[in-house]
């Protein structure tokens, strides 16, 4: 069932998105006496039985520490861990498995780059170009780097509620001493899908290093790092059917080889003396300590699971749900403010009901079995730009249905009545 990211979409066989729900044991339950409608997938997705089984099988059959082991179980654990690396390389179409570093998630992946690459390459006066729609995890590591080095952060503006990037100064700002350009592929609070390939190409032409935060896109659409042309790409396992605690940093091999290590410890060294040490080549140079082996095994199973469905199909279904929900809730009578692009959006809607705080929306929706998220979504600068403190957000995955969106929209209507007048 394995497919690879570069393979053309499989023959048009319709996916039955309703029966696929049976793969997710957690979805079959009631919350507050109502059928669970899980719409918090941008925060974390649920796990299919295939992933849960892979974790159980690993711990019941193969668990041991990796590398340097000579016994059978250690060999199996090492083989499973390294097979996950090969699988992840295929998943994003990296040139080799040496370009895949396992981390705890997107946040650690970006911190790794900010520390290991940043400290080595960024000097006082250099610019780091970001966008106003970045998650805190793609802002704060760069702020820490800027503090250490005296670099300056510059942000591409977001064009109001419609949530697109204002690129009018992009080339000019790139040319003005920018060392690194880092951007999100899909905004977690707007649903904007950024043209990462085009923007990376424009940065690359000027010799600028690029990083793509793929936390919201990795499990939702095909990803090809060669086509995107980025130097780094970061994503998390738990937002794409995998376990929490495992993530990936893709790094272009030439860039990785020049970088100093991230953390020091076991697994990453060649030789340790009392005063100095030498270390392995990438990716092992960046993986100090016992890694999350079961996490990698679970992530492997998640990638197989997603590709058995087909990421092209998941992407199409995502956009269908996003468009359906956007159209549906925009027709609500009591006044609703919607954020993000009208068309071509990812599978989420971010909104505010007139005169109802996002947290009140989420509390009431929860009582109707609908799991939403309300708050700043780790996008405080973006919230300030939009002039709001928070938004409520419904974010979908392939196991969600239009019937659930109908129910969600009905619940929003009830909430308007409840707080209205």
């Amino acid at each position: 069932m394995k497919t690879d990211a570069t393979a053309p979409p499989q023959k048009k066989k319709a996916v039955d998105w309703v029966t696929i729900r049976a793969d997710f044991p957690i979805l079959d339950q009631e919350v507050h006496g109502q059928p669970l409608i899980y719409f918090d997938n941008a925060a974390t997705t649920q796990k299919p039985r295939a992933v849960l089984d892979a974790l159980r099988r690993y711990y019941e059959r193969d668990n041991a520490n990796v590398h340097r082991g000579i016994h059978e179980l250690s060999n199996r654990a090492t083989a499973a861990f390294e097979a996950a690396r090969v699988r992840a390389a295929a998943f994003v179409n990296a040139r080799s498995a040496q370009e895949i570093i396992f981390t705890r998630g997107t946040t650690e992946s970006i911190n790794l780059v900010a520390q290991a690459w940043g400290s080595h390459n960024v000097k006082a006066g250099n610019r780091i170009l970001l966008t106003e729609m970045e998650h805190h995890s793609n802002i704060v590591p760069w702020q820490l780097l800027a503090e250490r080095t005296g670099a300056k952060l510059v942000y591409l503006p977001v064009t109001g509620d419609i949530g697109l990037l204002d690129l009018s100064h992009f080339d000019q700002w790139l040319a003005e001493g920018t060392k690194l350009f880092a951007m999100t592929h899909i905004s977690n609070s707007l649903g904007t899908i950024n043209p990462v390939s085009e923007l990376c190409a424009r940065a690359r032409n000027l010799g600028i290093t690029t990083l793509v935060d793929a936390a919201q896109s990795a499990g939702h659409r095909p990803l090809d790092v060669q086509e995107i042309g980025c130097d780094f790409l970061a994503f998390s396992g738990h937002k794409m059917c995998g376990p929490t605690g495992i993530g990936v940093l893709y790094g272009r091999q030439e860039v990785l080889e020049e970088m100093p290590p991230y953390q020091g410890g076991g697994e990453m060294i060649l030789n340790v003396d009392l005063q100095q040490s030498t270390w392995k080549h990438a990716p092992h140079k960046f993986e100090a300590g016992t890694p999350d082996i079961s996490g990698a095994v679970g992530l492997h199973a998640a990638m197989d699971y997603l590709d058995a469905i087909g990421r092209h199909k998941i992407a199409a279904h995502d956009q269908e749900l996003g468009a359906y929900a956007y159209a549906k809730v925009s027709r609500l009578k009591g006044g609703i403010r919607l954020f993000g692009p009208h068309i071509g959006r990812a599978g989420l809607v971010s909104f505010l009901l007139k005169d109802v705080h996002a947290h009140d929306v989420v509390t009431v929706a929860d009582q109707r079995g609908v799991a939403l998220r309300g708050g700043h979504h780790c996008n405080q600068p973006l919230m300030r730009k939009l002039g709001v403190e928070s938004t409520a957000r419904a974010s979908f995955y392939f196991y969600n249905t239009t019937t659930e969106i109908d129910r969600f929209s009905e619940v929003l209507g009830e909430i308007q009545n409840f707080f209205g007048g």
Binding site: H32, D355, D360, T363, Q380, E389, E414, F419
Partner: protein
Amino acid sequence: MFDELNDLYQQVILDHCKHPRNFRELDHPTCSAQGHNPLCGDQLKVFLSLDGDVIKEISFLGSGCCISKASASLLTESLKGKKKADVQQIFDRVHEMVMTGRVTGDVGKLAVFAGVHKFPARVKCAILAWHAVMAALKGDGQPVSTENQGA
């Protein structure tokens, strides 16, 4: 239709949320303090005018969810005319009530917040204005955040 929610959003709370009382800045407050809940972005400021030991005027401004606005509004009503020395005791009772649902003494109208304890994520909303008042009376002028107060 929303029976379970009526515990949280009682009529009195909905009323104070839609029509907050004492929702203004005082001209010459004796003290004031800013309260901030970084989890939801709620910001409010309370103003107090003291006559000796007695709270003569009390008001608030800010934005937030229904629970935090209603809590601030009812707080201003219940503390007006109270002695400064009594505020700690009322705070303790309200705190205990929103954390556990137990009412350990007379809290007057504030009893409408007893249902909040069933919604752990909303306890901080209900207690935000109270932290701000305690900070104002302490008089160090420091903004107070729910994240540094352990709820």
